[in-house]
């Protein structure tokens, strides 16, 4: 069977890969959006912390013998703690300044983290094996579906929607939204806003660490894996706008699929298609698909 002259299994395979990268876009842009909402800072270190998550998973397995499933829980927590340290020691002094300083500071942090891993492990990728439970593929008749990819998509969607649920539907989320809207007034009601800011950054960064662990078995674990991804995620964020949680999830997944399809029909453009779409969106809807014009 063929669609537009492309064999169906190839098409579905690329679509699947697109969904996988879309899942990473979604988790990472969600983290950026959550952090931006609360701290008004674009976290340039997000890519570096994602890379750190992948490396911690690799190190846990290699040096401590801690397997994938434990890493999936422990690594995000550790990366989250790193984030909290960053927030307490550095970021908290910048809230009163222009937003650009937050971007510059986290850019510096990204360079530091990337440089440290690079000088220790070089630039060649390190392999991380897929856990036994998720090796192999499902035979769907028209294509083989690798179990691990399916798992990545499923768990990413779950995490994204859980985050959305917490922020939009729970008491904690209501405090969070209130603090985003008007921190002074929220503080006046007796809610510890600085604590919430700290935890928000920790959580957003933990999401990046989580994505890193998920990515470790698919991509090679390498110091450079974060920076290229994060620039594409920035484009995703510009396209979607950071105002809406659901918006960033949908945009992330959608762009992943488009990227996958581009690989099928015009492979040369697959690395640039996200940026081209960004340019088009800027022309048509400058505020982004889900953004509000100020």
């Amino acid at each position: 069977m063929e669609i537009f002259g492309v064999p169906l299994p190839a098409l579905m395979g690329q679509l699947m890969l697109g969904l996988v990268s879309g899942s990473f876009y979604a988790i990472l842009s969600l983290g950026l959006a959550v952090i931006f909402g609360m701290l008004n800072i674009i976290n340039f270190a997000h890519g570096a912390l994602y890379m750190m998550g992948a490396f911690f998973a690799w190190m846990a397995l290699t040096y401590l013998g801690i397997g994938y499933w434990w890493s999936l829980v422990l690594v995000p927590a550790v990366v989250g703690v790193v984030g909290i340290v960053i927030e307490r020691t550095m970021l908290q002094w910048l809230y009163k300044l222009d937003h650009l300083y937050g971007l510059l500071l986290t850019f510096g942090l990204a360079l530091i983290i990337e440089g440290l891993f690079r000088s220790e492990y070089g630039v060649s990728g390190l392999p991380y094996t897929i856990p036994d439970e998720l090796t192999g593929a499902l035979d769907l008749g028209f294509m083989f579906l690798p179990k691990y990819r399916l798992w990545v998509i499923a768990i990413s969607l779950f995490v994204c929607f859980a985050t959305w649920f917490v922020i939009e539907k729970t008491q904690l989320g209501a405090y969070l939204r209130a603090a985003t809207e008007n921190p002074k007034l929220t503080q006046a009601f007796g809610i510890n806003v600085p604590l919430m800011v700290m935890l928000t950054y920790g959580f957003g960064v933990a999401l990046a660490g989580f994505a890193g662990v998920l990515a470790a078995p698919i991509f090679q674990v390498s110091p450079l894996m974060g920076s290229n991804l994060i620039i594409a995620v920035f484009a995703v964020v510009v396209i979607g706008g950071m105002g809406s949680i659901l918006g960033s999830i949908v945009t992330g997944l959608g762009l992943g699929i488009i990227e996958g399809l581009t690989k099928v029909f015009y492979a040369e453009a697959s690395s640039t298609v996200v940026f081209i779409i960004m340019a088009i969106v800027l022309l048509i809807r400058p505020a982004g698909l889900f953004g509000k014009e100020k």
Partner: protein, 311 residues
């Protein structure tokens, strides 16, 4: 600072630069000059218009490739090669600018970064860039068909003339009515709009000018090193120019020059000794500057001078 003092300062700096090849390795000084020009061009945007572009490497890289290509493959004369690189960067700057000024603040930075990354990916694939190897063995040619630029000293004075000329242009721009409006946009965009100025037009013009000058720096750099590589277009280069401007002092006319000198010298000194830890050091300087040193070297010096005068 009063006019007489800064005039003495300019004269002293120019004298030092004219004499520099006697004491220092000319290629290193030319590298500093190219990056100083790059940073000054960038500062026109960040320091004077308040726009943080995280994509200036695209202009540096594009001009470097275009100049390299027309000199090497098409055999154009040197002057036209430099011009071609600069114009290419200006055209790209117009394209980037027209898109990026549709968003403000933090989004502006992300848009420019993403567009520059797109250019980087295009360069990886494009046939004329030589991929990972880059464009090697670009001939320097002769200036006006007479002066042999293969000689480092001859080239040095050409590069110095270019940089001084560009610096003068930036200085004139900042102190012109146009520059006043740019500064007003930095301080309070809404008010400038309310005064009836077409802010988008001013921003775009500033962006194109900055891109063109960044391109001139890239074109000159190709002439100095005789090659153009992907490094020029990589986002690290965009970050470096931000760092140079921040360290030197954004919004000061000399800050970027000082910042570029410090960073290039540091990289030159450290490259063999610490290897890839250079990135870590650059990152650390970034963090320190943002946390404790936001005025930069020149900014702090001016503040110190003012305090002494007032006392």
């Amino acid at each position: 600072m009063n006019g007489r003092l800064s005039l003495i300062g300019y004269a002293a700096l120019l004298a030092a630069l004219l004499a520099a090849p006697l004491f220092l390795y000319p290629v290193l000084v030319m590298k500093v000059l190219c990056f100083a020009l790059f940073a000054c061009a960038f500062n026109l945007l960040l320091g004077y218009t308040g726009l943080l572009s995280f994509g200036h490497a695209a202009f540096l890289g594009t001009a470097a490739y275009v100049t390299g290509h027309v000199l090497k493959e098409w055999g154009w004369p040197t002057e036209l090669g430099l011009l071609a690189g600069t114009l290419a960067a200006a055209a790209l700057g117009w394209l980037f600018g027209a898109l990026a000024i549709r968003r403000q603040g933090i989004y502006f930075a992300m848009v420019t970064l993403a567009l520059a990354q797109m250019v980087y990916f295009l360069f990886i694939q494009a046939p004329f860039t030589g991929g990972e190897d880059g464009l090697q063995g670009v001939p320097r040619g002769h200036l006006f068909g007479v002066v042999d630029l293969a000689d480092d000293i001859n080239l040095y004075y050409l590069v110095l003339a270019i940089c001084v000329g560009a610096f003068w242009l930036i200085h004139r721009t900042i102190n012109s009515p146009f520059g006043q409006i740019l500064k007003a946009i930095r301080e309070n965009e809404a008010r400038v709009v309310s005064l009836g100025y077409d802010v988008a037009k001013y921003k775009l013009l500033a962006f194109v000018l900055s891109a063109a000058l960044a391109g001139l720096a890239g074109a000159t750099k190709t002439l100095v090193f005789k090659f153009a590589t992907l490094t020029d277009a990589h986002w690290h280069a965009s970050g470096e120019v931000v760092l140079m401007t921040l360290l030197g002092g954004m919004g000061t006319i000399f800050g970027p020059v000082v910042g570029a000198s410090v960073i290039v010298t540091l990289q030159n000194e450290l490259a063999d000794k610490v290897g890839s830890l250079v990135t870590v050091i650059m990152g650390a300087i970034f963090v320190i500057c943002v946390l404790a040193f936001r005025r930069g070297i020149v900014g702090e010096a001016i503040a110190l001078y003012r305090r002494m005068v007032w006392r």
